[in-house]
């Protein structure tokens, strides 16, 4: 049996809410069709932990800490087409709201000052990645080939982008693609 090789896809969650990945799952039965055409490699929904060489890399979320930056750069090196999925990846969105405060104030509030915290200290062991002073959108660190805006983009839009790419075309946006309500 000479099956056509499947397109390899990897996905990553950086600093975000995972709503964009949930929108991918909202493809519902179309996931079954998609599984015929693409191979999901490293992704939060699989047990493949290292990003291999892939055709398409999909990134959700902003860059909040050093580990996010490392994952993003690894993804860029190993994929041919990099897609920024959703507003956090594209603009920093809600996670970037913390940029108007000093990082020290943000962690002090979270771990020491909150009213329910009784025994509070700021986590500083090497096992937890260092937070960046500023939350950054991903194209500040790497070249992005395609942006899919939305908080989150809906499943129909994600399906449109993926099927256009699978057909060898670059998706063309129309206003209706980008209206989700």
């Amino acid at each position: 049996m000479n099956e056509k090789p499947k397109i390899k896809v990897a996905t990553a969650w950086l600093g975000g809410c995972s709503g964009c990945h949930m929108s991918v799952l909202d493809l519902d039965e179309r996931l079954i069709d998609l599984a015929q055409l693409v191979e999901f490699t490293a992704s939060p929904i699989t047990d493949v932990k290292e990003i291999p060489e892939v055709d398409v890399g999909i990134v959700e979320g902003a860059v909040c800490n050093e580990e996010n930056a490392h994952v993003l750069r690894t993804m860029r090196r190993r994929c041919k087409v990099l897609i920024a999925l959703g507003d956090c990846a594209i603009t920093g969105n809600i996670p970037a709201l913390r940029n108007q405060f000093n990082l020290k104030e943000v962690v002090a509030r979270g771990f020491v000052e909150t009213e329910s915290t009784q025994v509070g200290e700021i986590p500083n062991a090497t096992v937890v990645p260092r937070l960046l002073k500023r939350v950054r959108p991903i194209q500040e660190l790497v070249k992005v080939d395609l942006h899919i805006p939305g908080c989150p983009p809906d499943a129909d839009t994600i399906w449109y982008v993926l099927t256009e790419l699978l057909a060898g075309r670059l998706p063309q946006w129309s206003e209706t693609n980008l209206r989700y309500d």
Binding site: G16, C17, S18, E29, N93, T114, E121
Partner: protein
């Protein structure tokens, strides 16, 4: 950190097929046995700071972005906190529409946890090929089962969409009520889809019952340990998700506290921090840290409740209680409790759809900030969720405190990892099957680390035995 000079550490990074970004380390003693385990949560976003200065009515929309898996939980807890700031009682129809949306969320979130994340372990096997041990592998091996799971989650998402306007981050719950009335056509469409969804839920329960019968011993002892439990209940002790009061039970099911006003949560629970995790560690105040460990979520809710107020779910609940003297300790039973709750959510959905007021148009009351603070509490799919805001006289947010479902389970997840590690790490050697079973113990809790700390990611999984000088004694990689 232990200062023992010959202590060794095993690291699992990251934990996958959970909703968040985490590592696990297992610390060994002189004899090479498990001394301590740590479940590290490695992301942090800082909502408790950057919401300061916002107008309080923006809070539901901002805090929904804490989590895309259960945004409805944050929307509702936040809207309830805002109601409290206004000092209003929302109209009956609005309350029912919010609860309807919540039942859609319970269905979709629990279906995701069972079918998409955990079923690959149960149906393909803990030791099956990691490259296929995921929902896509399930589609290939058991297409009918996967399709049922996908359709069940889809129904839950449809309930949210038709009630609230969109599936993820709807702008529907607002301070004082909701902003969209429900139409007869929307109601009828959901009623039409309901029987199929109930069939899928029964199918899942049946699947799990077969598994539990075939693996009785393993199920009963899987990451089993003693703990306290917390959950909301109705005045008569029945299961409750949208309103209700807090009940705390001890390891044997004896009441510690009952019918606690959730707004008084600061009197009963507090949080500790550890240098090695961005997720805080809540505990029961009267028992101190870390003895005041308690569990929340589906298992805890069924352990504290006296009954389930819908008939079919209550029948299964009777089985739950029959042999266990009310308390189920094995972490595995989170799966069972989750499926029982899906049945409840669907039955409750039907009740709400048939409520004579559900298509009413009295859906919002207006007001001005009347109180300097407000607390909103609900049972999210993963457990009790607290939003607490302090505002000035113009409604500008001055302070925010959040305790999310997965946070409450932080101590418990550490204990669960320890229970499994003790079984699978003996005298310096990593036993076959340890990696995925440790992860599977975490998966029972369906942790939403997006919620709790506020982000997600992935890294290769490497388990290393390392001595204190950093010398690698044994290394297992999985990619």
């Amino acid at each position: 950190m232990s200062t023992s000079t010959d202590q060794r550490t095993i690291t699992i990074n990251p934990v996958t097929r959970i909703e968040g970004h985490a590592k696990i380390t297992i610390h060994l003693d002189d004899a090479g046995n498990v001394a301590d385990t740590r479940f590290h949560v490695v992301e942090f976003r800082g909502f408790e700071k950057f919401c300061e200065g916002r107008f309080f009515a923006e809070m539901p929309q901002i805090t929904a972005r804490i989590c895309g898996i259960c945004p409805v939980s944050h929307l509702l807890a936040s809207a309830k906190a805002c109601d409290a700031v206004l000092g209003v009682e929302i109209p009956r129809t609005a309350k029912r529409l919010r609860e309807l949306m919540h039942m859609g969320q319970l269905t979709q979130s629990h279906a995701l946890s069972f079918f998409h994340l955990s079923a690959p372990d149960l149906l393909l096997g803990y030791d099956s090929d990691p490259a296929l041990r995921n929902v896509i592998g399930l589609v290939q091996k058991h297409p009918d089962i996967a399709r049922n799971g996908i359709r069940l989650r889809k129904f839950g998402q449809e309930v949210i969409k038709l009630t609230a306007g969109r599936k993820i981050h709807a702008d529907f719950p607002v301070p004082g009520g909701v902003n969209k009335a429900f139409t007869v056509a929307e109601r009828d469409e959901l009623l039409k889809g309901l029987p199929e969804a109930i069939e899928h839920a029964k199918f899942a329960l049946n699947l799990l019952h077969i598994y539990q019968d075939e693996h009785r011993e393993a199920v009963e002892t899987f990451a089993s340990f003693e703990s306290n439990y917390m959950g909301l209940v109705q005045p008569d002790g029945a299961l409750e998700h949208y309103d209700g009061r807090l009940r705390f039970c001890d390891l044997n099911g004896n009441m510690i506290e009952d019918q606690v006003d959730p707004a008084q949560y600061l009197d009963v629970i507090a949080e500790a921090t550890e240098p090695w995790s961005y997720l805080k560690f809540p505990f029961i105040k009267s028992q101190g840290y870390p003895d005041g460990l308690y569990r929340v979520g589906p298992l805890a809710r069924l352990n504290v409740a006296d009954k389930i107020p819908t008939p079919l779910a209550n029948t299964v609940f009777e089985q739950w209680r029959a042999t266990a003297k009310n308390i189920r300790r094995s972490s595995f039973y989170y799966h069972w409790a989750r499926l029982i709750e899906i049945v409840y959510a669907l039955e409750r959905t039907e009740e709400l759809l048939n409520d004579p007021d559900i298509c009413g148009t009295d859906i919002m009351v207006s007001g001005k900030p009347a109180h300097p603070q407000g607390v909103g509490v609900i049972e999210a799919p993963r457990g009790t969720l607290f939003h607490h805001y302090w505002v000035d006289e113009n409604g500008r947010v001055e302070k925010v405190n959040l305790i999310v479902a997965t946070g409450h389970n932080n101590l418990a997840m550490n204990r669960a990892v320890q229970a499994v590690a003790e079984k699978y790490v003996k005298a310096n050697r990593l036993q076959e099957g340890m990696l995925n079973r440790v992860e599977a113990a975490i998966r029972c809790y369906d942790p939403c680390l997006s919620c709790s700390t506020h982000a997600i990611g992935q890294m290769p999984m490497i388990v290393e035995l390392v001595d204190v000088q950093g010398k690698v004694l044994e290394r297992v990689c999985r990619d």
